[in-house]
Symmetry: C2
Subunit: 340 residues, 2 copies
DNA sequence: GTTTTTTGTGCAAACGTTTGTATTTTTGTA
DNA sequence: TACAAAAATACAAACGTTTGCACAAAAAAC
């Protein structure tokens, strides 16, 4: 099904010179005369030459393809990170090979394998929620392929980690609820072995402690990040425990809570104040609008790409952690008066 | 930066056999004895062998990488199509190389070039909004690379086209407004050189004609697909023209209209009924909830991938058009009583 | 027991580049 | 004009596979 394509040998034959000269001319090598370079470029263009990246990478041992492994491409946050990575990598001459894990470690392992087989120069990854062991990173590290982690990361693997300031976001968010009069504040947490949810819980705890409020374990709802979980939590925790504030680690569970509270005619924000996390697009569209912590996914992608490019130039990976600032966006779900 | 990796030659040396036998064993070739195959597999696993796709593709002339070109990765619709493509392609052993055009034809051309250089087996593409000429598809066609178009497509390029049933969606949507009592129905259209928007306009027109309602050009607002455009259109068209129904080609412009109408205290759906297109996640979250035409992006991706795989097996491309069914979802923005 | 067929391996070339080294051409200098 | 130095080009090997063909050993047929 594939036609034969024009190669540098074809160009060389056409011009009566050698493939090596053509190669050097195309590469902009200094050792080829200016006018021959221009002639080569002309003939190449005329013949519709497209360099064969496979052959080039094979011979040179260099690759301009970066692999990216994310839980789900079609999640708002991740698709924006991807976009941010692409925005930096493409102009720099790199391509992106993308795999999704669907939150399965098994798929993560397969994805790594595929990327290694494709001889990517580096891998940008955010762990699947299942991922708690890291032996499958061994091969990447052993083969000295640059590795950049973002969002869901671990210190057990070397290389740069690009993360949101989850702790600060949670801290500010909880402080905001306290400042607005909440005293019994619940937390909808995620899976606590994942760094982002652990840190959000820490921020929540710290805010309470600073304010002299006891942390009540009964008010911490684990694995509460989807809408349905938020709904159930209202029945099981919010109402029985007489909660007056909710800091949700996810906008979706916050949404679930809002919906159920509205059904029960419990006034938001009068009776219960709510803030979420991620500032999903719907946060400003629902009624009441949802206070949330904005995380700059696009910028996170930019930074991940920049760290990757930097890593590619270095011998040994630097295991720094880079924080992308977050911002609390106050909306009606947590503020009484109409001043916002 | 890249360590030397284990090759089939290393395996062959280790076992005292020949690289060709190793190659055949790994490929599952019949001509190699069963027990040697198993021994090879064992040694390969033990040595941590990862086949070099570059070398393999270079030699065999075959590629298991598919390129995908979309306007924007981080748009809800496209990210779901990508996900759908991936869901079919990955299990079939293909990889996805993704580029975004940011709606620029110039980037589309560059993306094609990149994919060709990477010797992809096929390209799945949805045009940028700028794309009105198609010479840059020439090279893809000439090199006999499989091409599948989706959503934004043209008949000027051969190969399968996977599209939503835009006409039917628009027809049903407009009929729905008519059935609910609207007589002066405006249409927020997109760029009419793009097939999807053209077809939505056609569906709108056809519905009016069938109902014996004159099509008033003053009620057709072109290039009205972002929120701001919807807002402006309320001031410029909806109010002055005493419109009682809006069929928007985009949920975003519908949202803009809703917001401005609410500001002007014009009751929805009592005074103006509205329906959008795409069924974005926010459609069921805003107030009032937005009637919209659901398009199955994930399924569209599945189908695009299936068509691609099919194309790869064929000599000549079949230029069929495959329609993904759409569904009108009735919500409060267009229906008076509470029965929905 | 010899010949034919089958089965399993090995050999070597090829895919399209890049790149170290050798060779030729050009340039500069005496 | 001759000669060395510098510049430009050519040669050939290599990257890691795949694959047609040759070949040997084993199995089957006579």
């Amino acid at each position: 099904m594939v036609k034969k394509r024009v190669t540098i040998t074809d160009i060389a034959l056409e011009m009566g010179i050698t493939p090596s000269t053509v190669s050097r001319a195309l590469a902009g090598n200094q050792r080829v005369r200016v006018d021959t370079r221009e002639r080569v470029l002309n003939v190449a263009a005329k013949m519709g030459y497209q360099p064969n990246v496979l052959a080039s990478s094979l011979r040179s041992g260099r690759s301009d393809t970066i692999g990216m492994v994310v839980p789900r491409i079609n999640r708002h946050f991740f698709s924006h990170v991807i976009s941010g990575v692409e925005a930096v990598l493409n102009p720099a001459g790199y391509n992106l090979l993308i795999s999704q894990t669907h939150e399965r470690q098994e798929h993560e392992i397969k994805a790594f394998s595929t990327l290694l087989r494709n001889r990517v120069a580096g891998i940008i990854v955010s762990h699947s929620v299942e991922t708690q062991t890291f032996e499958h990173f061994r091969q990447i590290i052993d083969e000295e392929i640059s590795l950049v982690q973002f969002d869901r990361v671990t210190e057990q693997v070397p290389g740069p980690r690009i993360v949101n300031d989850n702790f600060l976001g949670a801290l500010r968010s909880t402080q905001h609820l306290i400042k607005n009069g909440c005293r019994r504040i619940a937390h909808f947490a995620g899976a606590l072995h994942v760094n982002v949810y652990e840190q959000r819980l820490d921020g929540y705890r710290y805010a309470l402690e600073q304010a002299g409020i006891d942390v009540d374990p009964a008010l911490i709802v684990e694995n509460c990040i989807v809408q349905e979980a938020g709904m159930e939590a209202v029945e099981n925790v919010i109402v029985p425990q007489q909660v007056d504030g909710i800091f949700a680690a996810s906008d979706l569970s916050a949404l679930g809570a809002i919906r159920t509270l509205k059904e029960l005619n419990i006034a938001i924000p009068e009776k219960v104040k709510i803030s979420g996390f991620a500032n999903e697009p719907f946060a400003e569209m629902i009624d009441p609008t949802l206070t949330s912590v904005e995380q700059n996914a696009f910028e996170m992608g930019n930074q991940a790409a920049r760290s990757m490019i930097e890593s590619l130039g270095k011998e040994d990976p630097v295991s720094e952690e880079i924080h992308i600032p977050v911002r609390l966006i106050q909306r009606r779900s947590s503020v009484l008066n109409n001043s916002i």
